[in-house]
């Protein structure tokens, strides 16, 4: 083997070892690298106890209620399996909407409700003009009446 070839092999081996090390480290940190927990994890008790964490999911349609002071809001975060009621006092981000993604930071109260100190909107990777969204919605309702097989961006 020429010295040149040897050097390339060494570089390759080094990178390979590095990849394995990185994989092991990331695997070990798996649970600490998540930005938020799901309502199912909260229901199973897989969330940090007694300290603040984030919970993420969809804002359940029709669950948003506002108290008389106009600032305190209640809504339900769901991952389609479990539901967590959330209370938040503050200004919601513009993109906060029922049926859309949300990430809330706060603590789980004793009664199972989540007291949020911060609410972030999580938007998805779909971008479309309003007309296209209208067309999609129409197609969806029409499709629901006829066949119901039209799947619009399953996710």
């Amino acid at each position: 083997m020429t010295p040149r070839k040897k050097r390339f092999v060494l570089i390759g081996l080094g990178l390979g070892a590095l990849a394995v090390a990185a994989f092991l480290v990331l695997n070990a940190f798996q649970s600490n690298l998540v930005f938020f927990y799901t309502p199912t994890q909260a229901a199973n008790g897989d969330v940090p106890q007694g300290r603040s964490f984030r919970i993420g999911g969809m804002v359940e349609a029709g669950s948003l209620t506002r108290e008389g002071d106009g600032l305190t809001v209640h809504f339900v975060v769901t991952d389609m399996a479990k539901r967590v009621p959330v209370t938040f006092k503050g200004i919601l981000p513009d993109l906060f909407k029922e049926g859309k993604g949300v990430v809330a930071q706060g603590q789980l109260a004793a009664n199972g409700a989540f007291l949020a100190s911060e609410v972030l909107a999580k938007h998805d990777e779909n971008y479309m003009p309003p007309e296209a969204a209208d067309a999609l919605a129409k197609a969806k309702t029409a499709g629901a009446q006829s066949s119901g097989t039209l799947v619009v961006n399953p996710r």
Partner: protein, 253 residues
């Protein structure tokens, strides 16, 4: 290679690359200007608004290509660094050295525009999710590589040390790219990928791709210009460096 009648290896010598780069820079600069101009025009005036985010989403036409470039450029820099280590070739190290600042610039641009986007859409300038954090680490890697090189006086040692650092750091690039798939992040997933149809309107994708090619051309032009500076700086002593073929660069020093 032999069929073309051009000896491409000739241009791996700094002496031959210097005038060639000088001739190529105006073309790439013009292409960059044209493509970025078209991309921004299509992005800001032709592409439709987004149904949920309104016009705030238009920052993707800078943000996404900049983020792609920050990762591409790192990989390319690492490849040059690896070639330099393997072949013991000075010009490869010089290329890696010339790419680093542009990569750092695009990383900063991606982080900055992302922050501007985060406030109106998410409601926060910055969050410590996996995507954002790993991209921030990429910025620190670029800065670290540039600093390490400039902190070592012996050029050979500086080349090798920064090349090893660049190679070690390449592990972060797949982590950045796949972070949105591997972990729960606030950052959304990829809208455009090689394996699936884009999940965005056609005009939007077009504008983004045009911007990306514009950024490529810009990167090539700037890297070549910086390469010329590096050549002049490092090949100070040989006689050709003082020849009249490059008076502009000599004066600039």
């Amino acid at each position: 290679m032999s069929g073309t009648g051009i000896n491409w290896f000739k241009y791996s010598s700094p002496q031959a690359l210097y005038p060639l780069a000088g001739r190529m820079i105006p073309w790439f600069a013009a292409l960059a200007l044209g493509l970025i101009g078209v991309g921004l025009y299509v992005g800001f005036f032709v592409a439709p608004t987004d149904v949920t985010q309104g016009d705030a989403y238009r920052i993707i036409f800078v943000h996404v290509p900049a983020a792609w470039m920050s990762m591409f450029l790192y990989v390319i820099m690492a490849i040059w660094a690896g070639l330099g280590l393997g072949l013991n070739a000075r010009p490869s190290f010089m290329m890696a050295q010339a790419i680093a600042p542009t990569g750092a610039m695009f990383t900063f641009l991606a982080l900055f525009t992302g922050s501007m986007w985060g406030k109106p859409t998410w409601g926060a300038w910055w969050v410590w999710d996996a995507r954002l954090t790993s991209e921030l680490i990429l910025l620190f890697q670029y800065i670290g590589i540039i600093l390490l090189r400039s902190s070592i006086d012996d050029l050979r040692r500086a080349d090798r040390a920064s090349a090893v650092l660049a190679l070690v750091g390449v592990i972060n690039v797949p982590i950045i790219y796949f972070s949105v798939r591997w972990w729960n992040t606030l950052h959304q997933g990829a809208s455009v990928s090689i394996t699936a149809a884009p999940t965005m309107a056609g005009t939007m994708v077009t504008a983004m791709l045009v911007m990306m090619f514009g950024f490529w051309m810009y990167s090539i032009a700037v890297t070549l210009a910086r390469m010329r500076c590096v050549i002049v700086e490092r090949e100070r002593h040989p006689s050709w460096g003082k020849q009249a073929s490059m008076p502009d660069a000599v004066e600039a020093r």
